[in-house]
């Protein structure tokens, strides 16, 4: 898939980045980042120096999006290196942010990094559940982006191929997921996403507020919504059957994958918030671009037992 943001090797990053160079990193990968760039690494955008040639940001989608927002109208160049796949933020002209307890997003091509790169092995040290959530996040972008009513035949062809590639690799630690994640993010930035993201964006701030010491992130929530949404809205729909026949999608494997990503305990925790926030979920722009209409009565489809 054509990206506006080019990929640079680490050697290119080191040789082409404009000095002075600052590296910002998520704490969990700070060690590997310091040894990669042989420099001290910041862990907050608050401590950026006034004079800056290039900012290299290494982290998850949230940190990369934060840096992208800072990049708009700035004098420095931004290079993004994801520490885990999932959001594809490194190639997306969209940044998601939270304000006053509400998630929102901004589309602005000016925020795009001048390049993205990768650090071999950076994902190796990550715990298995984060790898799983990252795959779930990427799959949710691919699924909803492919089925979006704002797509066309070209995006459906691209999305079908991407879903097939993802199924071929499977949910596991494999650095090919970085490319899948970037492609899935680009796909949904051209089309839209749907109710998985409408729900995730609505209930994430609520879960984080009520459980501040629990890691309720976007990827975890999306991973747990794939099976309920797929089984209740997509699997039996005529549109989906036409699509899977035309593009030879392995539906059985997709179902198995989504069931694997689903966690009963997580969904039990989420269910009450979906019920409480249902009116806001219905109004959410991302719910309103779902591939099938989400109606008020559809709340019951989310309250069942999916185990």
């Amino acid at each position: 898939m054509t990206k506006n943001t080019p990929f640079w090797s680490l050697e290119e990053v080191k040789s082409r980045a404009t000095k002075p160079l600052v590296v910002l990193s998520t704490k969990s990968v700070k060690g590997i980042v310091e040894s990669t760039f042989d420099t001290s690494v910041l862990d907050s955008l608050e401590s950026l120096p006034d004079v800056l040639g290039t900012l290299i940001v290494v982290g998850g989608g949230a940190l990369i999006d934060e840096a992208k927002l800072k990049n708009i109208g700035s004098d420095f160049e931004l290079i993004a290196i994801p520490s885990l796949w999932g959001s594809g933020a490194e190639v997306s002209p969209i940044a998601v942010f939270e304000e006053n307890g509400i998630k929102d997003y901004l589309f602005d091509e000016e925020m795009l990094p001048i390049a993205y790169s990768s650090i071999p092995g950076i994902a190796q040290s990550l715990p298995e559940h984060l790898v799983r959530y990252g795959c779930g996040d990427a799959l949710s972008h691919a699924l909803e982006g492919t089925l979006s009513p704002l797509g066309d035949n070209a995006t459906r062809i691209t999305g079908a191929a991407l879903l097939t590639d993802m199924l071929d690799i499977g949910v596991k630690l494999d650095e090919r997921w970085f490319e899948f994640s970037a492609d899935a993010c680009l796909l949904q930035s051209q089309t839209s996403v749907g109710v998985i993201h409408g729900i995730a964006h609505t209930i994430e701030p609520m879960l984080k507020n009520d459980f501040p010491h629990v890691d309720w992130g976007h990827a975890r929530i999306c991973s747990n919504l794939l099976w309920p949404v797929f089984s209740q809205f997509i699997l039996e729909s005529e549109k989906w059957n036409t699509f899977t026949s035309e593009f030879d999608i392995n539906v059985s494997e997709l179902s198995t994958t989504f069931k694997f990503l689903f966690n009963d305990d997580d969904y039990d925790a989420m269910r009450g918030y979906i019920i409480e926030a249902w009116p806001q979920i219905l109004r959410h722009p991302l719910t309103r671009t779902n591939s099938s209409l989400i109606r008020r009565s559809h709340l019951e489809k989310f309250t069942g037992d999916f185990s």
Binding site: P149, K239, R283, P285, R288, T289, S292, L293, R295, S297
Partner: protein, 81 residues
């Protein structure tokens, strides 16, 4: 209202997030804030789900009222009495 009119009224109430008493067959695009570009997308998806007809982009963006919807669907053989 006959069966299809009731189905349409229920559908559009969900599409435009209206209470039952807020919906009328005389409803126009400018009457409600939820009939914006996203509302048009949701309306087109909902009509396809419920009545099996897929508006062309030109049809969907040209619809300004509930009567316009009825007119197009009637021309495709879906009856509203």
């Amino acid at each position: 209202m006959n069966g299809n009119l009731v189905r349409l009224a229920d559908l559009l109430s969900d599409v435009f997030l209206l209470e039952p008493e807020e919906f009328s067959l005389e409803l126009k695009k400018g009457d409600i804030d939820t009939w914006d570009s996203l509302g048009t997308v949701a309306m087109a998806v909902g009509i396809q789900d419920e009545f099996g007809y897929h508006f062309t982009p030109e049809e969907a963006t040209g619809i300004e009222s509930v009567n316009d919807i009825i007119e197009i669907l009637t021309s495709k053989g879906i009856e509203f009495d």
